[in-house]
């Protein structure tokens, strides 16, 4: 059995205009020590998925259905008290903006010691020693000094290292990293990602990496999910998805990456923008933007408009698209033409 099993997770937000379904039928698994990437546009439900794993969705959001099983525990129906023992202790989380994640009025040491003491019965001295050890692991220069410094005295990269140290503090089984490098500049991004990867491998920690950076996902993760409008639309081994994306949306995302283009050449893009979750189109949510349409009249295929696509196995991947078989047939024909 996998370490973390999410099945048919359904998250809704009760708003005045009615319920908005932020996640629908999201299912995935994570093995011990495995690294999983979740990609998608802003608003696709990536962060909601992360927070719902810890049952921490703020009001007015709530988990309407599905189950989250972690190491035999059903997180969805656990009491608040029992959940607190999982949070931070066995599943920890790294946030996007290191400037905001640390409490500005507490020193680094105080924040780390507090986290340790919330979960273990140890003295402040022992906690400080563990904190120091973790700071050394994230390769912070002069870690002892850092313990007594306040967040504003540190640079962004250094703060993100501290946040990683805090995430590792209690030797968790899973770290959820919600766009951990978005707020950092490119050179620091690479350093932080390499550090995170190294520490996860070293401690055999599972990593759920939420990002919209396909480059990072392809380098760090073993498997990935592509999300669109609250649904998983494609999942499978990262390498296969990056090399041979099946869903038109994933294809669009990968085409949109800047290639070494000649000057003046426009970058590819997916036309339109993601629909509002409260007003999703019928059938496949992606069909208004999909390039795979009837060539004869420029209309979307009837199946795409009428029915929500089921998952189809395609090699090691699972794709939610009506047209997978057809697209593959098309491609085969094209290849034959060329040869």
């Amino acid at each position: 059995m996998a370490l973390l099993e999410v099945t048919n997770l359904d998250v809704r937000f009760g708003l005045r205009q009615g319920e908005v379904r932020a996640l629908r039928d999201v299912s995935f698994t994570l093995e011990r020590g495995e690294r999983l990437g979740i990609v998608g546009e802003s608003g696709a439900g990536k962060s909601v998925a992360a927070f719902s794993l810890l049952n921490l969705i703020g009001k007015p959001g709530f988990i309407a259905g599905g189950s989250i099983t972690f190491d035999g525990l059903e997180l969805n129906s656990m009491s608040e008290r029992a959940l607190r023992k999982v949070r931070g202790n066995r599943i920890s989380m790294i946030f996007q903006d290191p400037m905001m994640t640390l409490n500005p009025v507490l020193s680094i040491g105080e924040q780390m010691v507090e986290c340790l003491k919330a979960h273990r019965r140890i003295s402040s001295k022992q906690a400080r020693a563990i904190a120091l050890d973790k700071l050394q692991q994230v390769q912070i220069p002069s870690p002892e000094t850092r313990l007594d410094q306040y967040p504003h005295e540190l640079s962004g990269g250094m703060r993100q290292r501290i946040i990683i140290a805090i995430a590792l503090l209690l030797d968790p089984d899973i770290i959820i990293a919600d766009e951990p490098t978005t707020a950092l500049d490119v050179t620091i991004q690479a350093e932080i990602m390499a550090l995170l990867l190294e520490l996860c491998e070293q401690h055999n920690v599972g990593l759920i990496l939420i990002t919209h950076d396909l480059g990072v996902v392809s380098q760090v993760t073993q498997r990935m999910l592509v999300m669109y409008a609250g649904r998983v639309i494609e999942q499978g081994p990262t390498r296969e998805i990056i090399n041979d994306p099946q869903h038109p949306y994933t294809q669009g995302l990968i085409n949109a990456l800047p290639q070494m283009a000649t000057p003046g050449e426009r970058l590819n893009q997916i036309r339109g923008s993601m629909p509002s979750l409260s007003n999703l189109p019928d059938g496949c949510a992606f069909h208004p933007r999909c390039d795979f349409i009837n060539k004869a009249n420029g209309e979307p295929r009837p199946a795409c408009v009428q029915k929500v696509p089921e998952f189809v196995d395609s090699g090691n991947c699972r794709v939610a698209c009506h047209m997978v078989a057809e697209m593959q047939e098309d491609r085969r024909l094209k290849l034959e033409e060329i040869s």
């Binding site: 810890l54 921490l56 009001k59 959940l83 607190r84 023992k85 999982v86 949070r87 931070g88 202790n89 920890s92 989380m93 946030f95 996007q96 903006d97 905001m100 994640t101 640390l102 409490n103 500005p104 009025v105 507490l106 507090e114 986290c115 919330a118 979960h119 002069s142 002892e144 000094t145 007594d148 410094q149 946040i163 805090i166």
Partner: protein, 323 residues
């Protein structure tokens, strides 16, 4: 043209010394601003001076005004030293009962400050706790607590004092009320004014609650109580400090007003307010000092606290920064 020399300081691995609390204060903007603001310095000096003098009154005062044996009714209504007919034993003159005005002002300032601080501490305890709960927990708790605050604010302090005073006097007797008047006044002013704190704290908490460090603390698995008091509260301290100065001044004024109306401290243990009241009856007969001197002390005390509060607000609110 000079070529900058490369210093080798980076190769030294001595770790920087952690500044002590005093050094942190000395380097802070608070201290910097204080050094440049003469009004604040003067006000703090006056305020601290008054506090020290008031609380050291048993040592400093020439006589003990609570000791009836030291009072000579024949020496009543003597004027202060710069007026003819003054007695050199009584620098600021005497009141209608023949008590030394200087001594009784010192003792009275102590009572006023005691009530002011006590009431503000009570207000702050209630207000901060309720404000934090309302802001952080939200929903029904918020609605309930804030409606309670609205109800509380719709009673004036005077009304609360009259009702509480009447009830206590009726049930326990006047002697009991006089004996515990300080505690009674702290309770009355404290209970009447907590919504000021609750509202300020709630507003700050609502702003802080949505910051990521609160999410991070929840993800760490900390309890709500701990997040509220250890993570959110310290971030809302600056408005609490600012409002505290205003509230201390307000509490002292409220106490004076209540005493002036005869709802506060009894004549035997007068505060500044009851001194003003007791002298008020003699103003027409020319003994103005019994009212005016305690009045001046009250004004100076409240004014210096208020000016300190103004300065603190300017320092702690960067948006009001005035170059």
């Amino acid at each position: 043209m000079t070529i900058p020399t490369v210093t080798q300081s980076s190769s030294q691995t001595t770790r920087p010394r952690i500044p002590s609390r005093w050094e942190r204060l000395r380097d802070s903007y608070l201290w910097y601003s204080f050094k440049r603001d003469h009004t604040a310095q003067l006000c703090l000096a006056i305020f601290i001076g008054l506090v020290i003098v008031a609380f050291a009154s048993p040592l400093l005062a020439p006589t003990d005004p609570y000791d009836l044996r030291q009072i000579d009714i024949m020496a009543s209504e003597l004027p202060p030293f710069w007026i003819d007919g003054a007695d050199e034993r009584f620098i600021l003159g005497t009141d209608a009962q023949g008590r030394d005005l200087l001594s009784i002002i010192l003792y009275g300032t102590r009572v006023s400050l005691l009530i002011g601080f006590g009431a503000v501490i009570l207000q702050a305890l209630l207000g901060v706790t309720f404000g934090l709960m309302a802001g952080y927990l939200g929903g029904r708790v918020d609605a309930l607590l804030m409606r309670l605050a609205d109800i509380q604010l719709s009673f004036s302090t005077l009304m609360v004092a009259i009702v509480v005073g009447a009830v206590v006097k009726a049930t326990m007797g006047g002697a009991f009320y006089s004996e515990y008047a300080v505690i009674m006044l702290i309770l009355i002013i404290g209970l009447a004014e907590w919504p000021q704190y609750a509202r300020t704290v709630r507003a700050s908490v609502l702003a802080e609650k949505n910051k990521e460090y609160v999410d991070a603390a929840r993800v760490m698995g900390l309890r709500s109580k701990r997040i509220m008091f250890r993570h959110v509260l310290p971030n809302t301290l600056s408005p609490i400090f600012v409002i505290s100065t205003v509230q201390i001044a307000n509490a002292i004024i409220s106490e004076a007003a209540l005493s002036f109306l005869g709802l506060g401290m009894p004549e035997t243990h007068p505060s500044l307010g009851s001194l003003i009241k007791s002298g008020f009856d003699y103003i027409q007969s020319g003994s103005w000092w019994i009212t005016l001197i305690p009045g001046a002390v009250l004004v100076i005390l409240v004014l210096s606290i208020n000016l300190l509060g103004d300065w603190l607000r300017d320092v702690m609110n960067p948006r009001l920064y005035k170059g």
